[in-house]
């Protein structure tokens, strides 16, 4: 469910809103009214910018007009301390009628992070900067892979990396022949597990390259990998800790660095693994989003 539902906007709400934003620019108030009255999400960046601007010292305000303003860092560039952040949060909550937990603020570094965070919050999507936990059932639903060829059991997705675990059960079908007398988890399957986590990242993260569009899970394929090293023999009952970090994203290619450890020991490393991906057609997006949410509810 989205965290925020657009409720009917009453005259009393408008009074509160006008009071909350009394020291913001007229454009900020206008944008906030547009969002609150019409549910128009495109008004949100202007609201956020206006609220942040209101709390800046006069000499810092012009920086918000810089070409690369979205990249400005809240603390280092804008001089926003943690108390000011709380002031911004309270005003944002009152203005957009939502509530924000302290935990959610920890990873917000730049104006861009704030925009994305609020946007996700309003759309009910997981925030890119907040770790998103993906359990085994959700992995199964999300991934194009299935039994007996799915090697992720539990995953956490962050903006800059994804982590997952897989416990080698010993009953994997290929262990019968790999090898005849000693079961050893194949290095090629470790590479497969890294690739699968990269697929999950593509499907679950909100990478800026996707521009909010949804990915077609039937159109993700392996294209290449470089610098593969296997460093440890993995056997039944070992728990693989798999990590991928996005390196380059440019539609239709996504490149990751990947690694596996077992109890802290290096097991495998891939300098680059590249997948190809594609978007769902725009028209069917809303429907798919809705069905996804239903499935997760």
């Amino acid at each position: 469910m989205p965290d925020v539902e657009i409720k009917p906007f009453s005259a009393a709400d408008e009074t509160v809103l006008r009071d909350a934003l009394k020291r913001c620019s007229p454009e900020t108030l206008e944008a906030a009214l547009t969002y609150r009255q019409k549910g128009d999400h495109s008004a949100i960046p202007a609201v956020i910018l206006g609220i942040v601007e209101r709390f800046l010292e006069p000499e810092t305000r012009p920086r918000l007009k810089e070409a690369n303003a979205a990249k400005l860092r809240l603390i280092e560039d804008l001089g926003i301390d943690s108390l000011t952040m709380v002031e911004i949060v309270i005003m944002t909550e009152e203005t957009l009628s939502l509530s924000i937990d302290n935990e959610e603020l920890k990873d917000l570094r730049s104006l861009e992070d704030v925009h994305m965070f609020v946007d996700c919050k309003i759309k009910g999507k997981p925030s890119p900067s907040k770790p998103v936990h993906v359990g085994v059932e959700e992995i199964y639903e999300t991934m194009p892979h299935g039994h007996p060829f799915l090697f992720l059991q539990d995953a956490t997705i962050r903006q800059n990396e994804a982590q997952a675990t897989y416990e080698i059960s010993g009953s994997e079908f290929f262990l019968e022949g790999h090898f005849k007398h000693t079961p050893v988890f194949p290095a090629s399957i470790m590479l497969e597990a890294i690739g699968q986590l990269a697929v999950l990242y593509i499907l679950k993260s909100d990478h800026p390259e996707f521009k909010g569009r949804s990915i077609d899970n039937t159109k993700i394929f392996f294209t290449s990998c470089d610098g593969v090293r296997a460093q440890r023999i993995c056997k039944p009952k070992d728990i693989l800790s798999i990590t991928v970090k996005p390196k380059r994203f440019k539609h239709p290619l996504a490149t990751f660095e990947g690694s596996i450890t077992v109890a802290g020991e290096k097991a495998a490393f891939v300098e680059e693994v590249t997948l190809t991906f594609d978007f769902l057609p725009e028209a069917s997006q809303t429907e798919t989003e809705a069905s996804k949410k239903l499935a997760h509810a």
Partner: protein
């Protein structure tokens, strides 16, 4: 032991927001009392207070306030202030400028700040109400630092980047006497070379009106007669807000940097009544002991005192108590006749602010060679017979001054200042 001197003053008071105006009004006995906009409801017995001019601090949204353009307060500072914080900060900037201190001379490990304020009851009430209405997590994040006793220290230490000692004092109307006294100790003990001492009060409805319920405020709404310490018909005090900053320095430190010196701070002492939570001892027991100890601390005798800035607030009991204390120390039969006045007739009673405000008046009296009169006395209280309560300003330079303060719970402070070079 090191000597302490006064090297800077800053005033945001009902009788002026700069030293020249304060000096003129003290000399000419012009009061700063008027109808207070927060005290005009029908159920308010006294509608007057000492008024701070050129500052508008309605409500508790600091960004709504206006203040003289001589001062600039950044939002990051302003957001943590109650009205008294704004007054205090402006008075501190004024005193720093007056003392000719550079940023480095204010912000170093040898410079500290002691403040006096009872906190801002109105600001606290406002924010607690808002929290109860809007939810705990929407409590204004600066609510506490703007409101509680200590608010002046929190804010001024941050705003002035103080690196030395810092602390807030709360002994009601003796608070800034304690702040001055302990700042004196800080310097004489060699812990600090320089101390800023700041007292301030909001002076708004919430900080004034509860004293009406106590029956401590005068019911008189005539600004010209409402505050009349030592008058036979006095009937309660008039409140005031504002702020005063006094800068104290080790004498050698001050001399080395060529500071202008207002006078010496020779010593201080305190003693308590152990009598009643709010009523002063009828015989002025605590205050007279504080005075004796202060004379000892300053190594002067009662005969050396030629001017006394009295605590006298214009309440029947309080003034009587101080009269008894003064008669005990400066016994008319012994021939001692120090001039006595209460400048609260002009300013109103500044509560936590009053002691440092009056100490600063004493510093002006020492530097400019005059003794301000005790205004508004129509009929001197016969109980004060034999005491030299001066009703007009005297252009006589005092050599040694005693300044008294008494607070709730019977806390009494006595401070002694003297002419520099004397």
């Amino acid at each position: 032991m090191r000597n302490v001197v006064v090297t800077g003053l800053g005033f945001i008071t009902s009788i002026g927001n700069d030293q020249d105006t304060v000096l003129k009004n003290l000399r000419e006995l012009n009061h700063g009392i008027g109808l207070h906009p927060g005290l005009q409801s029908d159920d308010t017995p006294s509608k007057v207070a000492g008024l701070i001019k050129d500052f508008e601090t309605p409500g508790y949204d600091a960004e709504d306030w206006t203040y003289p353009s001589d001062y600039t307060v950044r939002r990051e500072i302003l957001r943590g202030l109650s009205p008294q914080g704004l007054f205090a900060l402006c008075s501190a900037h004024q005193a720093i400028k007056d003392a000719g201190l550079s940023d480095n001379e204010v912000s170093n490990t040898q410079t500290g700040i002691y403040t006096a304020s009872a906190g801002s009851p109105g600001c606290l009430h406002h924010h607690m109400n808002r929290m109860n209405e809007r939810g705990v997590m929407r409590c204004y994040p600066l609510a506490i630092v703007a409101s509680i006793a200590g608010t002046l220290s929190f804010n001024l230490v941050a705003a002035l980047k103080i690196l030395g000692s810092s602390c807030g004092f709360t002994s009601a109307c003796a608070s800034s006497g304690h702040a001055l006294g302990y700042a004196f100790d800080e310097i004489t003990l060699g812990r600090q070379d320089r101390m800023l001492v700041v007292g301030a009060e909001d002076g708004n409805r919430e900080s004034i009106i509860p004293f009406a319920g106590m029956r401590a405020l005068t019911p008189n709404s005539d600004p010209n007669t409402a505050s009349r310490p030592f008058d036979k018909n006095r009937d309660g005090f008039v409140c005031t807000g504002g702020a005063t900053t006094m800068i104290l320095e080790d004498e050698e430190t001050a001399k080395k940097r060529g500071a202008t010196i207002y006078g010496r701070f020779n010593g201080w002492a305190q003693a308590s009544d152990g009598h009643n939570v709010a009523i002063s001892h009828p015989e002025g027991d605590g205050l007279s002991r504080a005075i004796e100890l202060a004379l000892k601390s300053a190594q002067v005798s009662a005969a050396d005192i030629d001017y006394i800035n009295a605590h006298a607030t214009s309440t029947p009991i309080g003034d009587a108590s101080e009269i008894r204390a003064l008669q005990r120390i400066f016994n008319p039969k012994s021939g001692l006749k120090p001039a006595i006045s209460s400048t609260k007739a002009l300013t109103g009673h500044g509560l936590s602010l009053s002691s440092v405000m009056e100490a600063a008046f004493c510093a002006l009296a020492l530097k400019h060679g005059f003794m301000p009169g005790s205004a508004n006395i129509e009929t001197l209280d016969p109980e004060a017979e034999g005491l030299n309560v001066i009703r007009e300003t005297q252009d006589v330079a005092p050599q040694t001054i005693l300044s008294n303060s008494s607070g709730f719970g019977g806390a009494n402070t006595a401070l002694i200042f003297s002419k520099y070079g004397a």
